[in-house]
């Protein structure tokens, strides 16, 4: 897989991409995006619809040209050295598109083996191995139009892996999959990450990003909001830590509601959730709960989804 390159797998610097729809104002999809993805890293790109995720992936995959700025994959410029980038990358774009539905999985994959210039014997063996790995061997000679969405996505992944690329771009690979199929695909992506491939994954799914990614970049309206580990992103909102407890009386609830730094006290089923908005308030809340005889107390961190919603706001997201 890997070549002699020892720097970051992906470097994006001040990348701008605009589109000019007919008779409509210019659309700015990416506004000066910069990020780095280390070799062997699973990097998540999280953002709402229209945030610029797919545009960024397509530029990195040499499908689109940037308007300005630069991007490199394993040290090769995606615009000026596209032909040397292409053997290094595999791409899975979201949705049902990208396959010849009237052909079988094997026929589809043989074609991609040829496009990646695999010698015929090696191509056949690689196709067989990938079909096996993706659990498609038994249906390999059925037309793709008879496949479930999950099977199609696994076939897409097999296609992307045909030439054993060191860098994978996966654009919302689990979108539209049922939970079981999504879990299977995540497991495969986890295996690929274990092979020290660099994986750049766009997703809507917070749990997916938390489960798979070493670092996550939040993007909205073509701008990077933050790049951190999922845990560090959670810690960014540590001042919004909350306390949950069972058995709090109305008196205790009233006492805590009046406490400075507590932003809300709400019922959460049989439990009570106390949200804070200032540093250092949690210990005081805990002290008062314990003093009131409440012993079932826990402090929880915000999930990545909550961090994301806080940073992006609740603008038109399908999360």
């Amino acid at each position: 897989m890997g070549g002699p390159w020892s720097g970051p797998a992906v470097v994006v610097e001040d990348l701008v991409r605009t589109f000019q729809p007919k008779k409509r104002p210019e659309v700015v999809a990416l506004q000066g995006v910069s990020l780095r993805v280390d070799e062997g890293e699973v990097h998540g790109l999280l953002g709402p619809n229209g945030a610029g995720k797919t545009t960024l992936v397509k530029i990195l995959a040499t499908i689109l040209l940037p308007t300005s700025g630069s991007a490199t994959v394993l040290g090769r410029d995606v615009a000026a050295e596209a032909t040397s980038v292409r053997p290094l990358i595999g791409i899975v774009l979201g949705g049902d598109r990208g396959l010849y539905n009237r052909l079988t999985a094997r026929q589809n994959l043989r074609y991609w083996a040829a496009l990646h210039k695999l010698e015929p014997g090696a191509g056949r063996r690689r196709v067989d191995a990938l079909l096996e790995r993706m659990g498609l061997t038994k249906r390999a000679d059925d037309r793709v139009q008879t496949y479930s969405r999950g099977m199609r996505q696994r076939l897409h992944l097999a296609r992307a892996l045909m030439h054993d690329p060191p860098v994978l771009f996966l654009d919302e690979p689990t979108t539209g999959l049922d939970p079981l199929a999504a879990r299977e695909l995540r497991a495969i992506v986890g295996e690929l990450a274990g092979e020290r491939r660099t994986i750049f994954l766009t997703t809507h799914d917070m749990a997916e990003a938390e489960a798979l990614c070493q670092r996550v970049t939040l993007i909205d309206r073509g701008r990077i909001l933050a790049t951190e580990t999922p845990r560090a992103l959670s810690e960014m909102l540590s001042r919004y830590e909350r306390v949950e407890c069972d058995g709090a009386t109305d008196e205790v609830v009233a006492d805590l509601s009046a406490l400075r730094g507590v932003s809300s006290v709400s019922a959460l089923g049989l439990s009570t959730r106390i949200e804070v908005d200032s540093d250092g308030v949690v210990p005081e809340v805990m002290r008062r709960l314990v003093a009131a005889g409440v012993t079932s107390v826990r402090v929880t961190r915000p999930t990545l989804e909550e961090v994301y919603l806080d940073l992006v706001g609740r603008r038109g997201m399908d999360v």
């Binding site: 499908i63 689109l64 990208g98 009237r102 026929q107 040829a114 015929p120």
Partner: protein, 255 residues
């Protein structure tokens, strides 16, 4: 070469899965009936070879341009074009291989026309120079495929390319002497005919059916191949420029 073979194989598999790709081959016998009927009605037995060669070349021409457009528009419609351009294989190679596969299948039009002439009109068509026929068909298929790349580029860029292509078919047939002898054309048009590879192909194919020895076969085959190579070169450049443009515009994935 591996990518080219892969593209040819893919197209043959697509044809097996979707026989609609071969509609042009099915229309070939009807053209043969029309042309042979006209020649007979006019009492011009000397033009019989025109009536036999014309449907074959028209089928090949229409088929190659049809498929070149389909390769682009169908791949674009299902999101495959984006993925193909992101592979190490040049898109020109893919188009060339896929068009070549269908164009070679289109040479079956020779057999269709032969059967129509024999069964429908009682005309015994003898191939006096099978080597010339085979060479002319192979060179023509290659030249057709090369020229089709020009149209493939147009299909990426312009939705109206299909209309333009259909409009241009018959003028090309006339200019190339496919339907009527070039000697019937106005004098000032005749030099232009020789810039179209079809005119050389048509002459060679007709000569292969004549008992007289075929003259200058290599030179004329070279003319077909050179003009086809010119089409391929121009088509490749157009396709490369067009792909660069749609990557720039961001319309590569749009139907």
């Amino acid at each position: 070469m591996r990518a080219l073979i892969g593209a040819i194989r893919l197209q043959l598999q697509i044809v097996v899965a979707d026989r609609g790709y071969l509609n042009e081959i099915l229309t070939n016998p009807f053209f043969a009936v029309i042309f042979l009927g006209v020649v007979r009605a006019a009492g011009r037995r000397d033009l019989t070879t025109f009536a036999i060669v014309a449907p074959v070349l028209m089928t090949l021409w229409a088929l190659s341009l049809e498929i070149s457009g389909n390769v682009v528009s169908a791949d674009r419609g299902v999101g495959i074009l984006e993925l193909v351009v992101a592979t190490p294989t040049r898109f020109q190679t893919v188009v060339f291989g896929r068009v070549l596969a269908v164009t070679l299948l289109g040479t079956v039009g020779v057999v269709e026309t032969w059967l129509v002439a024999r069964i429908g009109f009682g005309v015994e068509v003898s191939v006096h120079h099978p080597g010339v026929l085979a060479g002319a068909l192979a060179a023509t298929a290659l030249a057709m495929t090369g020229t089709a790349l020009v149209m493939a580029g147009a299909f990426v860029l312009a939705g109206g390319a299909r209309t333009f292509q259909n409009t241009m078919n018959y003028p090309i047939y006339l200019l190339a002497g496919v339907l009527v002898p070039i000697s019937y054309l106005p004098g000032w048009l005749r030099p232009m005919s020789r810039l179209i590879f079809l005119s050389w192909s048509a002459d060679l194919l007709r000569d292969s059916l004549q008992p007289e020895p075929a003259q200058d076969v290599l030179r004329r085959l070279s003319a077909v191949l050179l003009l086809g190579a010119g089409g391929f070169l121009i088509g490749s450049i157009i396709l490369r420029l067009v792909l660069h443009r749609v990557r720039h515009l961001g319309t590569i994935g749009q139907e």
